[in-house]
């Protein structure tokens, strides 16, 4: 099971057959990061990911701002998934301050975070499609994504960077008639993404290119500490929405998607299957949501946490997203650490690419559901 992992290219002896190739940081195929690969002919013998080109010091900035003014900048690492990236921070601050959130706000949060998960996944799917040379798969998700962005715009007032979750609830109540519009759009959206099976997921060319490439076994997925779709594509049933339900996820009806193959194809299929579950969750939440009531507990200005630390995690579009907050009785957090899915899954990249053909690099890399800006924070 254990392929030997490269200990970093600096430590490796290079013989003259081996060529070192920099992919990125400007190359669109790598996102905002550099992947240094060593190739022997067409085969990758070693790979060294070099992230950090979009490191913005979110964690340092968080130490200079108070618990509330931290909200708009902490969502920046993944603006397409901004609700989910704020979620653990907001849950953590609520535990530190001892706030109980109104029931209606919990449902609004769940709806917003599921919509956001779909928006993120559609963006990722568009890029995954175009890097496999399937330009229709770029156009369709990019277009269908607008349906949900319109919904989120109605809900929060912003298309992408919502900053909608606040400690104590959500910023605004839903606009009038939102439930009907949301139901209609989500039903149409679900119908659309089911059509992707015919054009993309059942496409023999896609299957030929991605099945059996970059196989991650169950043992290694656990050992490397991967998360989210990478983990569930390798046969580990672990979704925090089921395992450690936050807000009202334990009252909603959905299932987790697990595949056993562990290859690029399975890894790219899980987020798509998840989107259909998201539609189910949204419909069920709309039905169960209290029709009226407060959506926010108002806090004192400049709330202070106690002398405590808290670690909260949620299931984001890229897997478990944890937030560790240390408070020292000041209005600003003493330390905020974001443990993000992208950063945790990156460790699998050198492992998966070793022995792979160079032409398979984009499909393996994007199947990791990696978002460079999130990994760098």
């Amino acid at each position: 099971m254990n392929k030997e992992l490269p200990p970093g290219l600096a430590l490796q002896k290079v013989d003259e057959r081996i060529m070192t190739l920099n992919v990125g940081p400007q190359h669109p195929g790598s996102g905002h990061m550099r992947i240094i690969v060593q190739i022997d002919g067409d085969f990758i013998v070693a790979c060294d990911p070099d992230p950090g080109y979009v490191h913005r010091g979110e964690e340092k900035m968080a130490e200079y701002r108070n618990y509330i003014t931290n909200i708009p900048h902490l969502e920046r690492p993944v603006i397409h998934d901004s609700c989910n990236v704020l979620y653990p921070y907001v849950l953590g601050v609520e535990e530190l301050l001892g706030i109980e959130v109104p029931e209606r706000a919990k449902y609004i949060r769940v709806i917003a975070s599921e919509l956001n998960r779909c928006v993120y996944t559609m963006y990722w799917l568009a890029i995954y499609g175009i890097f496999l040379g399937h330009s229709t798969m770029f156009m369709w998700p990019a277009g269908d994504r607008e349906l949900l962005i319109d919904l989120l715009e109605k809900m929060t007032g912003a298309r992408v960077t919502h900053a909608h979750f606040v400690p104590g609830g959500v910023r605004n109540d839903l606009p009038p008639n939102f439930e009907d519009v949301c139901l209609r759009q989500v039903n149409y959206f679900e119908k659309r993404i089911k059509e992707y099976a015919a054009i993309f997921y059942d496409n023999p060319i896609l299957i030929a290119r991605t099945a059996n490439t970059g196989v991650l076994s169950r043992e290694d997925a656990i050992r490397l500490g991967t998360t989210g779709s990478v983990l569930r594509a390798s046969g580990v049933d672990y979704d925090l929405r089921k395992k450690e339900p936050y807000d009202v996820y334990d009252e909603l009806d959905f299932q987790t998607n697990v595949l056993k193959e562990g290859d690029s194809y399975a890894r790219s299929k899980i987020p798509w299957l998840d989107m259909m579950e998201s539609c189910r969750i949204i419909r069920h939440a709309l039905q169960k949501m209290p029709k009226s009531g407060s959506v926010r507990v108002k806090l004192k200005p400049n709330p202070k946490g106690g002398d405590a630390s808290v670690y909260k995690r949620v299931e984001s579009g890229r897997g478990s997203l944890g937030c560790y907050i240390v408070s020292d009785k000041k209005p600003e957090p003493y330390r905020v650490k974001l443990s993000v899915g992208s950063f945790r899954n990156l460790i699998a990249l050198p492992y998966l690419l070793k022995g792979e053909k160079l032409g398979n690099m984009p499909s393996v890399y994007w199947s990791l559901n990696y978002w460079p800006v999130e990994a760098d924070r």
């Binding site: 200990p7 970093g8 600096a10 992230p51 950090g52 490191h55 010091g57 964690e59 340092k60 900035m61 200079y64 530190l96 301050l97 001892g98 706030i99 109980e100 109104p102 029931e103 209606r104 104590g168 109540d173 656990i222 050992r223 490397l224 500490g225 983990l231 580990v236 672990y238 395992k243 450690e244 209290p290 009531g293 407060s294 959506v295 926010r296 507990v297 108002k298 806090l299 004192k300 709330p303 202070k304 946490g305 106690g306 405590a308 630390s309 670690y311 995690r313 478990s320 944890g322 560790y324 240390v326 009785k329 003493y334 330390r335 650490k337 443990s339 950063f343 945790r344 460790i347 760098d376």
Partner: protein, 196 residues
């Protein structure tokens, strides 16, 4: 949970009558410790006695503080006996007034379904120097990479951000910072943001 009176909230915004909107003030008296988590903490205490300190036992979270000489042994026990199999997160926290840097491992388990909700927080502290020379001063800790493979990149990040050198880590290079970074490790408290 804190009993700080600053934390009490004022009335709910729009609908003060709504029962669910009521705030719960931090409770004064100690709540009964959760059973499962208490059991976990007891197993560790039974094995290591006074060499470790249980910092808190909360629902789904147990935190233990360990000295830097014992951290590897404790981590091995957590993996082999208690079935924690991966690190979710590794954070550094700088405490200049204590002259120490804390490294906090958040461990979880995929294989043991009874531990699916649990996070075991393993904290240890390294000595901190005023004028750090990352890698060549006394700010060192044993690496847990041999025990938990998943800490590899996390420990590299802490090395560059806090200057904590992990002994036994196979790949002590920078990860996120530029190659020509020649300032203090940036997440230390004495590295100040300009204009603040």
């Amino acid at each position: 949970m804190s009993s700080d009176s600053d934390n009490e909230q004022i009335e709910a915004t729009s609908d003060a009558k709504s029962a669910s909107a009521k705030t719960s003030p931090p409770s004064e008296k100690e709540i009964e410790l959760p059973k499962f988590e208490k059991g976990l903490a007891d197993k560790i205490v039974e094995k290591f006695g006074t060499r470790i300190k249980v910092a808190f036992v909360k629902p789904d979270r147990v935190r233990i503080n360990v000295g830097r000489d014992d951290v590897k042994e404790v981590a091995e026990f957590l993996r082999d006996v208690l079935n924690f199999d991966h690190a979710e997160s590794v954070s550094g926290v700088d405490y200049p007034q204590d002259k120490e840097i804390e490294v906090v491992y958040h461990l979880g388990s995929y294989t043991d379904s009874s531990l699916a909700r649990q996070i075991l927080v393993l904290a240890t502290r390294a000595q901190r120097e005023e004028n750090p020379i990352p890698g060549n001063d006394t700010t060192k800790l044993p690496s847990l990479r041999e025990i938990f493979y998943s800490v590899e990149f996390h420990e590299r990040e802490i090395f560059e951000m806090f200057g904590v050198y992990f002994q036994g880590h196979p790949d002590n290079r920078r990860l996120l910072l530029p190659e020509d970074w020649a300032d203090l490790p940036p997440l230390r408290k004495d590295f100040a943001i300009k204009g603040r």
